[in-house]
């Protein structure tokens, strides 16, 4: 298997990328506003459901069960989809998926394809591959269209253009759609997009979509959306190609009952998605004449093999963890330099890369736990973050550089001290004396060296008190002893 080289956007690590994003007031303002709005809507509609915690539990159990028996359910899905006239393709990695999809498009001699927003196609960089081979992909989801026309990258996987405000969208449309007079009301902008897209739905014969769920027992594919662009792409063209990660399968049709409640409420704060499309193979005289489903692995199988981290694949891509994350609030999605941002991106991205890329992402969290609290399938993201940190540390300790690194030396030293109270106490005394060079006139430490400078760049630290608690206690015991 070739490594999924296409997922990470660049080698820049999270702290560096975040520093750049933090300097962009406009993005921070847009991100904060958008996440606050979605989060408030989400909280309101979640609070309406008395059985929300049961739904989370059920969703978690269904997804965990499906992953435990993924081989079985994928084979069942393939058989049922094929029986209904669909064609199932298996892609080991991004390169295979891209070549399958391009081949299908070329077979139909299409020069353009319409697309329904699919994160999986972002993951495999499908658009770039198609463009390189003379095929023009056209995004039909409003936010994806904004991102595409703005030559930008998605920053959120439910609301990819969340980092753009209305004025910025207007400028992009004015420029790219050649509409210099375009107004800036939401109605103006939507009308422009509608006019731009409508002609394409009617003319273009091949569509590419993603999917939210694959139903094993019926071979059905489910896609939910809010704008109706999905319904257009799924029904009007002659050929439909859906690209879907292998983890998206669920056992039974009835299981949708859980996810069609939890997904819209978590993702967009809607009780139900305006458009819920479910299709099974092909039907004479109704919808596409050809349906292809590309099942993508691209680094997912190894995640399944890791007992601690397997829960990562339960994700249904609602992005509630992004909207609630205090780190994401500050930086937005681009700081993650990955298709998958936020807390779920911080665990998914490095794993899809076999821990060879995105290695700073598991540290991009204060472990506050808000992501776990909102997750509709109960992925314990903080637990997985710690597990992945553990893997990274263990790998680094195998190298000489890692062994001699400041972090490792510091942590080994601390572990040595904590193993024995007399050592720890001696270190405390040493600290009380040694700190003198750092303590300013105000009695505070205002600058520290090396990695500790990260603390003092924005924060002071009170000098260590003259007496530790344990010394105070010992003195007290001694006094009492004498008094007796």
């Amino acid at each position: 298997m070739t490594p999924p080289e296409t997922l990470a956007e660049s080698r820049q690590n999270f702290p560096e990328a975040a520093r750049e994003l933090l300097a962009d007031s406009q993005i921070r303002k847009n991100v904060r506003h958008a996440t606050d709005v979605i989060q408030a809507k989400r909280n309101k509609v979640v609070a309406e459901l008395p059985d929300w915690q049961d739904l989370r539990e059920a969703g978690s159990a269904i997804r965990a069960h499906a992953l435990e028996h993924l081989d079985h359910y994928l084979a069942q899905f393939e058989a049922n989809c094929t029986r209904a006239g669909g064609q199932v393709h298996w892609a080991r990695d991004a390169a295979e998926a891209n070549s399958i999809i391009l081949g299908l498009i070329q077979k139909h001699e299409a020069k353009e394809v319409i697309k329904v927003k699919t994160m999986t196609s972002e993951e495999i960089k499908l658009n770039a591959h198609l463009e390189a081979h003379g095929v023009r992909p056209i995004e039909t989801d409003l936010a994806e269209l904004i991102v595409q026309l703005g030559h930008d990258k998605p920053s959120h996987f439910v609301a990819p253009a969340l980092h753009k405000n209305r004025q910025e969208v207007r400028e992009i449309f004015q420029r790219e759609m050649k509409l210099p007079e375009l107004g800036e009301t939401p109605e103006d902008l939507c009308a422009a997009a509608r006019t731009y897209l409508r002609e394409k739905y009617l003319r273009i014969k091949v569509a590419v979509s993603g999917a939210n769920f694959l139903v094993a027992e019926t071979g059905s594919v489910c896609l939910v959306e809010s704008e109706g662009n999905g319904r257009m792409c799924l029904t009007l063209p002659d050929v439909l190609i859906s690209i879907v990660g292998i983890e998206k399968v669920i056992p039974r049709f009835q299981d949708l009952e859980v996810f069609l409640q939890t997904l819209p409420r978590s993702a967009t704060g809607e009780r139900m998605n305006p458009y819920n499309s479910i299709w099974t193979g092909v039907h004479e005289g109704d919808g596409p004449r050809e349906f292809h489903l590309v099942l993508l692995d691209n680094g997912r199988s190894p995640i399944l093999a890791d007992k601690e981290a397997r829960q990562t694949l339960k994700c249904i891509r609602c992005a509630a963890c992004l909207n609630v994350c205090p780190v994401y609030h500050q930086t937005g999605g681009h700081a993650y330099r990955s298709v998958y941002a936020g807390p779920i991106g911080a665990i998914l991205t490095p794993q899809l890369h076999d821990m060879k890329d995105g290695r700073s992402l598991p540290y991009a969290s204060s472990l506050c736990g808000a992501c776990y609290e909102v997750c509709p399938v109960k992925i314990n993201i903080p637990e997985v973050l710690i597990h992945l940190r553990g893997k990274i540390v263990e790998e680094e300790q195998k190298t000489l550089g890692g062994k001699l690194g400041l972090w490792n030396i510091g942590m080994q030293a601390a572990a040595f001290l904590f193993a024995d109270a007399s050592r720890f106490s001696a270190a405390q005394h040493l600290g009380q004396m040694g700190q003198k060079v750092f303590v300013s006139k105000s009695g505070f430490i205002e600058a520290l060296p090396l990695m500790l400078s990260g603390w003092t760049q924005t924060r002071d630290l009170a000098a260590l008190p003259k007496q530790t608690f344990r010394d105070w206690w010992a003195a007290r015991e001694e006094r009492e002893e004498k008094a007796r």
Binding site: P326, V327, Q330, I386, G390, G454, R459
Partner: protein, 267 residues
């Protein structure tokens, strides 16, 4: 006054070194309520820093040490919700990771006797009014571990509402992290600082002189920024507020130096 308990104090490594006043305050409150305190000097750390930073194997001997030291303790009280959460959420996992069934059994036996300080007062002792006086405008910072792991809910607020003279003012966005996150504050210093700036703004907007919490870790973080900006707001651990009486306040030079063993009863 009910049964007198023998409470073993786990002060935690950072309180021991940086916030001894919090430990003294815990001693003072619990003795005032008629309980006796022991301090096992062999104690060191809970292992949280190593565990959360990914030094999982290095955390295990520290966890073992904690279990050894407190194995036969009657009740263990800890003035830090993040350390308690380390024990409740990760100790069994650590034992499983190294395949140590004996350690897992020891941990399972020990955990029911481990209490966070405010939780101990409200749930184990059933006390809300601890006889404190603290005539200041105070806001309460909800630490992440106290809300999402320990589910303390309004316990600290109920304790604070019973303090004489204390004016409790609500804070905006109480559910959002202050950005400390242990080594996160160093490894991602810029993002951590940005989160801190938002939280400090919420604290300052309350107009409180004092920001309190059940964790000195968050308070150290908040105070670090508030002192750098030379704001007038101080941070004080909840135990120090609950220990305060009309005669002595935590930042008072008189307190808590050489407290008598038994302050005796509530005032």
């Amino acid at each position: 006054m009910g049964v007198s308990l023998r409470v073993s104090l786990f002060i935690t490594c950072y309180n021991d070194t940086l916030f001894p006043g919090t430990g003294k305050a815990v001693v003072r409150v619990l003795e005032r309520l008629g309980h006796s305190i022991e301090f096992r000097p062999e104690q060191t750390c809970c292992g949280q820093m190593h565990w959360n930073t990914g030094y999982l194997r290095e955390a295990v001997p520290i966890i073992r040490h904690f279990v050894e030291v407190f194995r036969d303790a009657e009740t263990i009280v800890i003035p830090s919700s993040s350390c308690v959460s380390m024990m409740r959420d990760h100790y069994l996992k650590a034992a499983e990771m190294v395949g140590d069934a004996k350690l897992a059994a020891d941990v399972a036996a020990l955990l029911p006797r481990v209490w966070e300080f405010s939780e101990f007062l409200a749930k184990k002792l059933g006390v809300e009014d601890v006889g404190a006086t603290y005539a200041h405008r105070v806001t309460y910072h909800t630490s992440c571990h106290s809300q999402r792991s320990l589910h303390l809910n309004d316990i600290p607020l109920r304790l604070l509402r019973k303090v004489r003279g204390l004016q409790l003012v609500p804070i905006e966005n109480p559910q959002e992290c202050c950005g400390f996150g242990g080594t996160f504050s160093i490894k991602n210093a810029d993002v951590s600082s940005a989160m801190l700036a938002d939280k400090v703004r919420c604290v300052l907007n309350t107009g409180a002189e004092v920001c309190t919490a059940v964790d000195n870790s968050c308070l150290m973080h908040l105070f670090g920024s508030m002192h750098r900006q030379r704001t007038f707001t101080r941070t004080v651990h909840i135990a120090e507020i609950l220990a305060s009486t009309a005669e002595a306040e935590p930042w008072d030079e008189r307190f808590p130096v050489d407290l008598p063993v038994s302050v005796g009863g509530t005032r």
